[in-house]
Symmetry: C2
């Protein structure tokens, strides 16, 4: 038997307990929970085969009551002695995509980001479109290219056309960028023709991950009218390996910024709440931005209510992301196109002036949030390296 | 034993042999092939459990050589006596969603449709965007709300704002519309970071279905800038129950209309080919339009090559649809917004002037195509009725 020592201040203490899918030498991929620097094999500890699957989906589909019950059982178990074979150092395991993605939706919920992008993409118009403060603008992304942290990001090729070019050219993107986002994972789905009201959010949503919505700005700028982003985004979206349960984020709830005009009734919460996550964007080892999630205009519950108000069904594993998290300050922006103002204001990274991504660059997104024990809990990292175009 | 009699001129003769998923009294959902007015239980006839699944995906994933081989084995089997228990009258079976949808992409490949929509949605601009003749414009739709023929279509609620309104209102869509499309089903996927060149289309794509891309025009018009259609489309997309194999459509190949400017090399086919499908749109029993697929500007192979040129992975079951099929003539338009010019020119349906859909309306899409035996083969119908908003 073994007992996990949790150092003071660990971002993976008992107030966190995020879920992931891991494999260790000799085990098939299965569900684990992270405690300090260990991964606990839940099928082995809780004697429940729902955790022997290579994805969180079967467990998530069991619903909110089960999530509460299992969290309590994990707390009890981890507080005592565990079978040695059920505890693995996190450094010794492989981490996999934690859930099968149903549909992937990407919102655009930061007023700072939407305003900045509006100024950059449409310099002759109002930065925010007339609909922006009435509904959480969003679109569907490619679920089949949502990949786990660690997946090589191959620079995409595509059509791009500078304003002065007569015709589009083809080749590797010259303006490869990131978007630092927070994603929410649907645990229990909803039937076609029904809605998920704002007050059902906590019952339906299992947890949150960090999301890097890789973006080829030159491809995007040429293709996106009138039907929205497509190949400029669909080559890869990477997520953190640990799904932080919503149950662990109650101490992180904060009011959203004031919403004016008042949203339509289906988007009204008694008090709309966001999350006080502090994100960090690391570029080749240097933190270049600290986007504050508390600045997001639209709340997660408003996003889900909007996404389903037309009766669209949801499924276990649906992922919806917030859109780039950008705060009001320059060093709080979650995309390089904003940080370098369209590439016109290079920033210094490891002593070099940089704008967009070069082959070999490594990006790490991370985040912390207030935890119920008074400390801070950590999200897993999203760490990916850019590989050259084929 | 039993032998299936195929009447002369049957749209489901031996040159067609489309696949679907059915259940009969006493059988679990399984793969069948349609012959005349019968459904043949393939697991029973070919003694192969890959057909005992409730979806075509496992069979499709086996790849092109297997598709060819199985088609020959079906031809042999259906030409002779079959075990009586393996043949069901189509009227006695329930038809289900024939495949599990991976990602769903909707293109915009008809020049007539894109021009008409451009005039209607953006009357003060050029109807075609500058990118339209350089790439097949497309976007991701909601895979989780792709439903089979027969599914009730519940009128969606959402935000809509007329140009003269100060603020958006909320309620059931007042401009519920259809889009008559053709969808292509990916059989064998492609890995992340690789492309599917135009000449691999026939090897990768298993077959085609009819698609009704239900559209709430008032919701769409208000929400779609800048990230594209979202709730105006995501409430339902219905597909025909029979997947017509690409192998059955060789006699239907026709050249696409001339493409000018010449596309970039990755979109060049030796001779781009479309399909000579004649669609029909029936509104409450009256044919109101006959959209010709041969008029589509971009070819199916160009759509798939474009969708993957950035290295996006594809999966078995991915569905990509053509976008509304509209021809140059008014009675060849595949959406009511075009047929009634934004609702300003009502058409007579069963003696009544009509523009958009009313509760209780029934829409049936169907199509035929030249078959290898000199006759015409049929696609299954997409038949759905509009139900009132909740």
């Amino acid at each position: 038997m073994t007992r996990i020592a949790i150092p003071d201040g660990s971002p993976f203490g008992l107030a966190n307990l995020p879920y992931g899918v891991f494999s260790a030498p000799g085990t098939t991929p299965r569900v684990g929970v992270r405690v300090a620097d260990s991964v606990v094999d839940l099928a082995a500890v809780l004697h429940d085969d729902v955790f022997a699957h290579p994805t969180l989906n079967p467990f998530m589909a069991q619903g909110h009551e089960r999530w509460v019950e299992v969290r309590e059982r994990i707390l009890d178990a981890v507080d005592g002695d565990l079978p040695s074979g059920a505890v693995h150092p996190v450094a010794d395991v492989a981490l996999h995509m934690p859930f099968d993605v149903g549909d992937y939706v990407d919102f655009y919920a930061s007023e700072h980001h939407a305003s900045n992008l509006g100024r950059l993409f449409r310099p002759d118009s109002e930065p925010l479109m007339p609909n922006w403060k009435h509904l959480p603008v969003g679109y569907h992304g490619r679920a089949g290219t949502v990949v786990p942290s660690g997946t090589p990001i191959v620079r995409p090729c595509g059509q791009r056309k500078a304003p002065d070019d007569d015709a589009p050219g083809f080749g590797p993107s010259r303006r490869l960028d990131i978007e630092a986002e927070v994603g929410f994972v649907v645990g229990t789905g909803s039937a076609l023709g029904t809605t998920v009201p704002v007050d059902e959010f906590s019952e339906r949503v299992f947890g949150a991950v960090l999301v890097n919505d890789w973006s080829a700005r030159d491809i995007q700028a040429w293709e996106y009218v009138p039907l929205g982003p497509f190949l400029g985004k669909s080559f890869a979206t990477s997520v953190s390996p640990w799904v932080v349960p919503l149950l662990a984020l109650e101490a992180a709830r904060v009011a959203t910024p004031p919403q004016d005009p008042e949203p339509l009734p289906y988007l009204r919460e008694k008090s709309p709440w966001g999350l006080d996550l502090e994100l960090a964007v690391e570029w080749n080892g240097q933190v270049v931005s600290r986007p504050p999630y508390r600045e997001m205009y639209w709340s997660p519950a408003q996003m889900l209510a909007h996404m389903t108000v037309n009766g669209a069904a949801t499924r276990t594993g649906d992922l919806f992301a917030s859109g780039t998290v950008s705060g009001p300050e320059k060093d709080q922006r979650g995309a390089f196109i904003e940080l370098t103002w369209g590439g016109r204001e290079p920033m210094e990274v490891a002593g070099e002036p940089r704008t967009f991504l070069m082959d070999g660059d490594e990006i790490v997104l991370s985040a912390t949030a207030p935890a119920a024990d008074g400390g801070r809990l950590g999200f897993g990292e999203v760490r990916n390296r850019v590989h050259p175009a084929p």
